[in-house]
Amino acid sequence: MKDKKRLHFPILLKVILLGIIASFIAGTVAVVVSYNNMISKAKEDLNADGIAALEYANTYYALDSTTRKTDSFEVVRDKVIEGYDYVKNVELSNYSSFKDYEKEFENAYPYFYPKGLPGSKDYFEFKRVYNDITDTLFNASFYASQYTFYAMKDPTNPNRFIFITDSRMGTSMEKNVFYFCVGSHYDLKPTDQIFDIGHSYIKGYRLGSYETRFIEIKSDDSGDVETIGYLFAAYETSRVSSDYAPILRNEILILLGSGLAVIILYAVLSYFMFVRNINKLNKAAVDVSNQLKANKPLKTINPNIKSRDEIKTLEDSFILMQDQIVNYVDIIKKDAKEKEKINAELEIASKIQLDSLPNNKCDDYNCSLRAYIKPAKEVSGDFYDYFYLDDHRLVVSICDVSGKGIPASLFMMKGKELIKSAVESYDNLVDAINSVNNMLAKNNKELLFITSFIGVIDFKKNEIKYVNAGHEKPYIVSDNKVTKLDGESNIVLGVEEGYEFKAESHKFNKGDYLFMFTDGLNESINASEEEFGYERIEKTIASTSELPLEEVINKVNKNLNDFIGKKEQFDDITMILIRNKKAEFDLHYEKKDYSIINEIVDKFNDSFSYLEEKTRSSVGIIIDELVNNLVSYEKREDLVIDIHFEYVNGDLKLTITSNGKDYDPFKNHKEKFLDKFHSEIAPGGFGLIIVKDLTKSHKYFYKDGHSIIELVL
């Protein structure tokens, strides 16, 4: 595989990491536990040593007359520490001899050199011992220890001395041998043994800044082992710590080392036991995927996993899955071909369906109509239809078939044809709808139904008669006000045979328009599942009386789209708008010129472009004849001509008013013109024959100083 992905956190790494974390935790716990044990043991030992030493010291101290006797072990120890600190910071090179230094120390710390001791001889002896010591072979070590705090002869045993001293005198203590000199009167022989009562030191456990200890020194001078002195010593434990840190460190290192070894072993085993097999499975999966990509026939790939664990089970499933993929690929290919065919057929069906709808715009002298349909699927369940029953009655229907897709669209085609033929053949709308309903309900095993609004608009009576079969109630927009056609709703079409539908009527004046729609519009929802609803529709179409119907549709669509946002349309949306046209306009001229004839005809043609060409040509001829007469024969120069076009009850009415003389052009024209035309072509004469021929009625009258010609085409 070329584009092999780098694994950022492979299993092996996880295994190692987990091992490290586990050993770290275990190691830490072990170290902490053993260290704490070590420390508490050391403390116990030291305390026991110290208490025993103090008791012993007090026994032989015999300083009855001083407060010393009552000093606790801790007090003695603290004094020792204080002294030690002092000594420790002395720079010996500042003194010419140790004695100088000693003197200074003695003055500063008389505590350590008590006067008036009982048996002051002993004291001097001590002093001497001290001096001897400083001069003898242990100078170096003694300097290091700096001083002995107290020493005395054991009153019960003349051969025994008690010393309180700094234990640091023994640099060779590390070798478990404690060298010490007890004075000139007693030559310490190499055979003298020095015993450490507090064996804890030898064990090496210490904690705290300083510890005091008591050491018994024994001699075998007389042949028998005999205690010759005690050493009461303060010890700087930091030194011990540094002595023992390496031991502790080694322990930790051993722990870590063995931990690391275990982890490596763990990782290697993990690789061979798990990771290698997972990699095999992965490679097999990639191979299968490559085969699929290359569109080759699938060969079953066996990853060959030897282990008998869950990965082996996974391998079995993987092989099984490959077999199923082969099956599915076949099925999918077949399905895809099938689907392609269905889609092509659906597309044709959708086209046939849309083609079966009448034109989405219609303009005639009665009305202006605009329809809009937006199917949610290829084929829609919505439909509309409109057709004239005669020159002034328009049937309009808008319907929504239950369900979607092909079944709904088949039912819709049936419904559409039934409605049209029924409304055309029955005189009464209710009878027509009853018949449509009965025919749809018969054998309607699928229980499909149609919600339907069917209206007959009478442009002469200016009213709409309608049957609402469970459909959304349309609106009439009149003078910028919205009225719902709130008449009685009947049941939907196709469900109940024999149902008696009821019709309603409503005024539908010139200039009003009817807004019909399907529930796809009001039930469109936005991302928060809110419906567009009637209120928004009403708000949108209010105050649109002056808008062209296309713009009303655009406005509704814009508001709808703003509302639903990116939410997908789930139902067909259909709207039909029909305006009862105010078909009239006026022209006013104050010049006596033939050029106005063409202006009038052109303006008329622009405004009544929907009229048949024949009607428009007739109007052209009439204007030419009559205005020509006026311009030619009227004497006055300040001629004013007003032309008024108007559709009245389906007929075009034309009124020409002028301030000319009272003259009826229809009265005296030459009926017998043809007999004489060779000798006489009376101007304006036979033009009126044409005018009379092209009009249904003509009328002339003179009123308030105006001559008026009224014509109905």
Partner: protein, 98 residues
Amino acid sequence: MEISMKRGEELVVALKGRLDTVTSVEFTDALSKEEIKEAKVIIEAKDLEYISSAGLRALLALKKSLAASNKALEIHNLNPVCQEVFKVTGFNNILTVK
């Protein structure tokens, strides 16, 4: 109103638009400027929207002037409105309409 002429054995005058009070004057002017040698003048009225009495008079005048030099006038392809005008005025009897 557009007037276009095609000369040959016959003079074919194609009219497009309206033949009314204003344009009939143009029509008469246009034809009077022509020296008509052809034996027959054909008015091609396929694109003639309508004709008013003024247009009829112009056609009649043309017919009269042609007749003086033994030339014929034919009017071809009148639309229904124009035919109606010809019929109601009797001009279909006076002029040769085809």
